[in-house]
Every structure is written in C-alpha cells, then in structure tokens.
Symmetry: C2
Subunit: 109 residues, 2 copies
DNA sequence: CATATTAATCGCAATATTACGATTTATTTT
DNA sequence: AAAATAAATCGTAATATTGCGATTAATATG
C-alpha cells in the first residue's frame, strides 16, 4: 500500500517521527544550523549559501515551518526566517527525554 | 530529479540527516522505545507488539540496523535485537550538541 | 504606473518509502 | 531426514519526497 499507518501508534511516537522527518534531510539540517548560527536569516541568504534552486529551498523552508521548527516574517520584499524558540525548546526536551534519560543498560546480545 | 544532492553538504549534515531519517517513522520509534524499555527483544515480540506484518517489521529493523542504532544476534530459531550501545551514545552526543549547546538567542522575527 | 526584486506556488520527472503476501533461508525438534 | 518455527528477502502496488524551471504574488523603487 505504501502509506504509514499512523493510527496504530501513540501520539508521542507519531509526533517524534514527524519531527525527525523534518530534520531528515541534509539541506534542512544546513538551514537549521545556519539559523542557529546567524543573526540575519533572509531566505535569499540561504539560497546563495546552499547550492540549491530557490524553489527547492522554499520547499524545505515550508517543511520546517510545517513542523513548527522555524517561522518567517515578511520584511519588505524579503522574508526573514528564524528558529521558532517555543517549539524548538519543546522539541529539545522531548528529544532529551528520549536520548538522555534512557540509558542503555540491558544487553541481550 | 528526485535524488538528494548529498555531495553539496557537510558530512555532519549528511550524518545527522541519515540518523534522523532512521528515526523518522512511528514504527521505528516504537521499536526503539520498546528496545529501550524491555529486557527481552526478540523480533517476534515486536511483530506481535506492533500491528504490522512480519515482513514490514523486518524491513524497519533493517533500516535501524543500517543506521547502526540497533544490532541483532541469532539465538536458535529467533533473533534477539537490542540498541547498539556504542552508536547510540555517539548519536546521543551529536544530538545533544545540536539541541542543547545551541540555545536560540537571536530573534530576527 | 512600469519595472525590479524576492519568495511562494505549480507542474512535472526521477527516485525513495511503506506495506504486504509469498517465498526462501536457517535452525530446531521430532 | 522430515516437519516446524522464526526471520530475511523478493516482488509489487501505492504513495511520498526531491529537485528544478516556469509562473505567480507581493512589495519596493524609479
């Protein structure tokens, strides 16, 4: 069939999977890293920084926006993007609880 | 075209993207959570735990194995899976450095 | 108001993912 | 050696993703 059976999983599993999916592309990782690093974050800057077409970058920005990781505001002709602090911090604590609190202890193999 | 241009990104960006891709499915999140929680971790247990076909689970296990997140050892007729502690800890610190050390400070929007 | 600039959206082609049933492989038990 | 059990692999269909050029939409400038 080829479509994910979201209904059989917990909402946490689905939420985390969607979050990781948003980060599961090197271009989107590059955008996130750039936004974490830079003060200015115009869409055009990202287009010239990464070696992808403008329409492609725009699509990746949409993916990140749908996941709530970034937000953009119109500034004249340009659009300024940045990390959505609120969602980012939620994500941070969810990922932390997955990776940090659960230490691998039981080895069966 | 439809294929990711890995060559234009840094190895860290590609590495993290591949890691997140492995986690970007609720079934694989469920498997990981189960392996973190349980002592026993036979493939068959996962099949009956999640509501997916055996061949589907097997494919998801392969994805996680390719990403280095889990490993499996044959025990008689069954295969016992568990988190690959070594890779898991590497992943943990990479994800930590992405999320924890980089706090969002500059707001341009 | 016409033109330039920036970014979103559309349409398309290539490729990847997801899921399942059927089959195969490997091991254990009879 | 034959039968049973568990898991990997194969083949296939449905759907999703990636990327780009072309177009559209919105704002700014001459």
């Amino acid at each position: 069939m080829g479509l994910t059976k979201s209904e059989i999983f917990t909402s946490k599993q689905n939420r985390l999977a969607l979050l990781f999916k948003a980060l599961a592309h090197p271009a989107r990782m590059a955008i996130i890293q750039q936004l974490l690093k830079m003060d200015t974050c115009f869409c055009g800057d990202l287009v010239s920084e990464l070696g992808l077409a403008q329409s492609t970058i725009s699509q990746h920005l949409l993916e990140l926006k749908k996941a709530g990781l970034i937000k953009g505001t119109v500034e004249g002709v340009s659009v300024c993007y940045c990390i959505d602090e609120k969602t980012w911090n939620n994500v941070k604590s969810e990922v932390e609880s997955l990776f940090i609190s659960c230490s691998v202890k039981n080895k069966c193999c």
